[in-house]
Amino acid sequence: MQAKVMQSRLLELIRRTSSRLPDDVVRVIERGRRREQPGSTAEYALQVILDNIAMARDKSLPLCQDTGTIICYADLPAWLDESAFATSFSRAVAQATKLGYLRQNSVDSLTGKNSGTNLGPGSPSYHLHQTRGRSLLVRLILKGGGCENVGAQYSLPDTKLGAGRDLAGVRRCILDAVHQAQGKGCGPGILGVCIGGDRGSGYVASKEALLRTLDDQNPEPSLAKLEKQIVQEANTLGIGPMGFGGATTLLGCKIAHRNRLPASFFVSISYMCWAYRRDGFALSESGKITRWLYA
């Protein structure tokens, strides 16, 4: 495949991710709206959100102006090396920024200067792996700053929360994080959680958990149960959409686990806003998009 074909396919992935939410997310937001009291501010907020989702899709414009951290996950087959992929993707990002699919959103932490292209140290955020498969798989998440700011990491035991080193302790941390976030992360939110790992790998895995669809099932039965319980309990807190109060505080919770050191027990929580922009595709060596991964 020519580099420019790859770049144009990746540009299309960025455009789609920025302007449309996956169906699994839209369905859960719709369910939330039906659950809210008619005429309430919660129902109103969710209706505006649903209108916005439809409008962004129709106009092919960013559904939120904060087009977020660009988190790129790719499984690279034998025919593609990392640097060739990253070059194409970075070029697609700069082009997407020029076309307005992405906001100029990357600032030098020392000088405060905006690069204007979304490129710079650590941007985009790449997570590249080799695969034995024939197709290139690319998954993209755009995660805004408001929700990133309310993420949290706990080190267990936490005496203030009464949280020990077990799933009961993990539950306490997660519910505390939802409460701390209130409406500030543009809820209703979706949580990606990692139990274990180190401080760095824990947060990375918590974001990877957001690659799952909302309607899937965790293969680990104890976590599947905890995920359901968290969503159900968080929705009794009464925080509601935008923190207006209401029954829809959390749309989903996805929990991963990593081994830890005997001395450490971290719970890392990434909060995703309702504008849960996630998309992905499979690309053949000839440059054909063979499958969209999230429909």
Binding site: T41, Y44, A45, V48, I49, D51, N52, M55, A56, K59, L61, P62, L63, C64, Q65, D66, G100, R103, G144, G146, N149, L161, G162, R172, L175, D176, H179, Q182, G183, K184, C186, E233, T236, L237, G238, I239, G240, M242, G243, F244, G245, C273, W274, A275
Partner: protein, 187 residues
């Protein structure tokens, strides 16, 4: 309920927490740079008497010689907490649109001055951009750049929820307290 310019103290004092309001008239955008500038004594380039300030860094582009708003959702308001109240008092700013709510200091000034906090739907950049029907001017663009400038937006039926009013009520404070109790019951 419709809130139309001019945004007089009487109209603002009539608003109460929980009301869903649609704003029509002129609003001024202003975020971090503008608030700091005004707080430090900078001269306002527009008349802020009975005005509404919108915490928003919009995406605005020039098409055929005129400004067109491409995205105009709210930004997090709490960053302006140190400045907002005193500025409301000094210039008789009556309304603040943003997201996430503000703190006790702003709430106190809302009571004192006759002001209100109006919560827009975070992330709804397209719905909100559509309600900006005209851009009537831009100020401090050279100094602060496009997202931080003061944009004069003519809005029609711009949807917000009153979450802090001039009677000392804050929905944010209430929801925090109620959810704290609910959390304590769960834990």
């Amino acid at each position: 309920m419709l809130l139309e310019a001019p945004f007089t103290e009487a109209k603002i004092r009539a608003l109460a927490v929980g009301e869903m309001v649609e704003i029509s008239g002129l609003v001024f955008t202003g975020r971090d740079a503008v608030h700091k500038y005004l707080h430090d004594g900078g001269k306002p380039p527009v008349d802020l008497t009975d005005s509404i300030i919108y915490h928003c860094g919009p995406v605005v582009v020039q098409e055929k010689g005129r400004w067109v708003v491409k995205a105009a959702g709210p930004t997090t308001s709490i960053r302006e907490e140190p400045f907002q109240g005193p500025l409301m008092e000094r210039y008789k700013i009556r309304g603040v649109i943003g997201k996430g709510g503000m703190g006790p200091k702003t709430l106190e000034y809302c009571q004192k001055v006759g002001g209100v906090y109006l919560h827009a739907i975070g992330g709804a950049a397209q719905v909100l951009a559509e309600r900006v029907v005209a851009v009537e001017g831009v100020h401090l663009m050279e100094e602060f750049g496009s997202p931080e400038a003061i944009w004069e937006f003519r809005v029609e039926r711009f949807p917000v929820v009153v979450t802090m009013d001039s009677h000392g009520r804050s929905l944010h404070r209430d929801v925090l307290a109620a959810s704290q109790e609910a959390l304590a019951r769960l834990l």
